[in-house]
């Protein structure tokens, strides 16, 4: 069997809907697209049913730009707002039960590695803070302890958005919401600290204020996971509905929160640092040679 999954069989090209023809002719496959090219090529995701102005959708759009090889990626998600958009992307999407994502991703990644020995396949978990820090907590932690080679991206809107505003472990202490009327009772969980303790190779905290940085961070996390070990991105992706942020102010909020308590942070394990520095050097050398 070949891996040429992204081409129409002879004669079928003309019967494909326009969207698919565009994906084949001018899509994001087999090349690394840049944020600066957005709007000039057919993206892996366009229509979705999430709320207008939701910062999570912007972040998800940028993740698709950052993924280093879309045609060899499987995304694993679960219940929560994000999957409404992620399931529309032109990248295979596996829906783990709520809480199971990192166990499902473990099986997927190990299976793909056995099945495709010569072709790295990237598995990326992308799910909400409730799905990863609360109900999926044990599966997330154990995938890290076991050093499973895939990336976990937390869409941290600091609330259970999809079910109408319950507090999660990632909600700030004291926060009052529709379904947390007496306020969140304990501190926001330190998932970045836990990741470091569990031996995660690369962690990053990020807001969607700088699109190029989002795409680069995702790319870095996926490439390090491929070679070194588990990686984790915790992304502030505000819920404008549950936090009552007026749609035009969503990015103002992201900038404020970033400045206040969600600034860009990166942590590399020693092995990840060495790997990344060397691979960057190699990429620079190749780019020079191309010129």
């Amino acid at each position: 069997m070949s891996l040429k999954t992204i081409q129409a069989a002879p004669g079928f090209q003309d019967y494909l809907p326009k969207e698919y023809q565009d994906l084949l002719e001018d899509g994001p496959f087999f090349q690394q697209r840049k944020v600066s090219e957005l709007g000039s090529f057919k993206e892996a995701i366009e229509e979705h049913p999430m709320c207008a102005g939701c910062a999570m959708t912007l972040f998800i759009r940028l993740v698709y730009v950052g993924l280093p090889s879309l045609e060899h990626t499987v995304i694993c998600g679960t219940a929560g707002c994000g999957r409404l958009a992620i399931s529309q992307g032109a990248v295979p999407f596996v829906y783990g039960n709520y809480g199971d994502t990192n166990a499902v991703a473990t099986g997927l990644k190990r299976g793909l590695d056995i099945r495709f020995k010569d072709q790295p396949k990237d598995v990326v978990v992308m799910a909400g803070d409730g799905g990863l820090a609360d109900i999926g907590f044990h599966a997330v932690m154990h995938s890290w302890f076991r050093k499973e080679k895939f990336t976990t991206i937390m869409l941290d809107n600091e609330v259970y958005g999809n079910t109408g505003g319950q507090d999660s472990g990632m909600t700030q202490k004291g926060m009052v919401m529709k379904m947390a009327p007496t306020g969140k009772k304990f501190e926001k969980m330190d998932m970045l600290g836990l990741a470091k303790t569990a031996g995660v190779a690369y962690t990053a905290r990020i807001s969607p204020t700088n699109p190029t940085r989002v795409a680069n961070t995702v790319r870095k996390a996926v490439l390090i996971a491929r070679e070194v070990g588990p990686t984790f991105i915790q992304a502030y992706t505000s819920c404008n509905i549950e936090y009552a942020i007026p749609t035009p102010k969503v990015m103002d909020d992201a900038r404020e929160v970033e400045k206040d308590r969600y600034g860009y942070l990166e942590y590399f394990s020693d092995e990840a640092k060495t790997y990344w520095e060397e691979s960057e050097k190699e990429r620079k050398r190749l780019r020079k040679a191309e010129k």
């Binding site: 069997m1 070949s2 891996l3 040429k4 999954t5 992204i6 081409q7 129409a8 069989a9 002879p10 004669g11 079928f12 003309d14 019967y15 494909l16 809907p17 326009k18 698919y20 023809q21 229509e47 979705h48 049913p49 409404l84 399931s87 529309q88 992307g89 032109a90 999407f93």
Partner: protein
């Protein structure tokens, strides 16, 4: 397996209403190699092929729904199979081809002239008033849901040309559908036409479906099919008048 004349559960065009039972739960068996399944009954392969041919030639707006396993050139076998798929299509005057390129749930809307989606296949069938269709190259687990939904909500005659075990939820199905069987299917269509089955539509070949979209967006000149070819059927499934003025407060 042979079954005589007894049918545990007739798998016939609907609309059967919401949540029809899985035919397998009602005792409909799968056909074995050399056999076919017609409306819940095991028959010989040739009989199944001819039944499918007659349905496609005589029912309104017959359509082929190629799924991902034949649509994408993902291996040499698929690339080879494509030619035989079109050989079949070319024997069916007025046939349409509407693809099912993948299984994304496609919200918030689909273009039912250009695509069929396994999560709401009825939308495409209703919109195009399709009364006979072929699913080919659709993975079993999605074909199962799709076939049941079509039976639940439409009067479409479903034919599953399955590369694996066949589908008991289709009205007509033949298992292990490889290139040789595509050739035999084309021959069966030619044979029933020769034996006097008059195709509903005249002429030869495929109507470009989604033609409006294809020509407008791709810039490729596509001829609009003649109006009489676009004529639509009015049957039980589609004949209801839209109810207006429903009273929200009525008990």
């Amino acid at each position: 397996m042979t079954q005589g004349n007894k049918v545990a559960y007739p798998v016939v065009p609907g609309p059967e209403g919401i949540l029809p039972p899985a035919a397998t739960m009602m005792g409909v068996p799968l056909p074995e190699e050399g056999e076919g399944l017609v409306e819940g009954r095991i028959v010989g392969e040739q009989e199944a092929l001819e039944t499918a041919a007659i349905a496609l030639l005589t029912r309104k707006n017959a359509t082929l729904f190629p799924g991902p396993l034949v649509l994408w050139g993902w291996n040499d076998h698929t690339n080879e199979k494509a030619k035989y798929f079109f050989d079949v299509a070319n024997e069916l005057p007025g046939i349409r081809i509407i693809p099912m390129p993948d299984y994304r749930p496609i919200y918030p809307k689909i273009d039912p002239e250009a695509v069929i989606n396994p999560c709401h296949p009825n939308l495409t069938i209703w919109h195009n008033k399709i009364e006979a269709c072929v699913f080919i190259g659709v993975h079993c687990h999605f074909a199962n849901i799709t076939l049941k939904m079509v039976r639940a909500g439409t009067n479409c005659y479903t034919i599953a040309l399955c590369a694996e075990a066949g589908h008991e939820d289709a009205m007509c199905s033949v298992p292990n559908f490889d290139i040789e069987k595509l050739v035999r299917f084309r021959d069966a269509i030619i044979k029933v036409k020769k034996n006097g089955i008059k195709p509903l539509y005249e002429g030869k070949g495929i109507i470009p479906t989604g033609w409006a979209q294809i020509s407008r967006l791709s810039g490729k000149p596509v001829e609009k099919p003649k109006d009489d070819l676009l004529e639509v059927g009015v049957t039980g499934a589609f004949s209801h008048e839209l109810e207006t003025g429903l009273d929200d407060t009525a008990e």
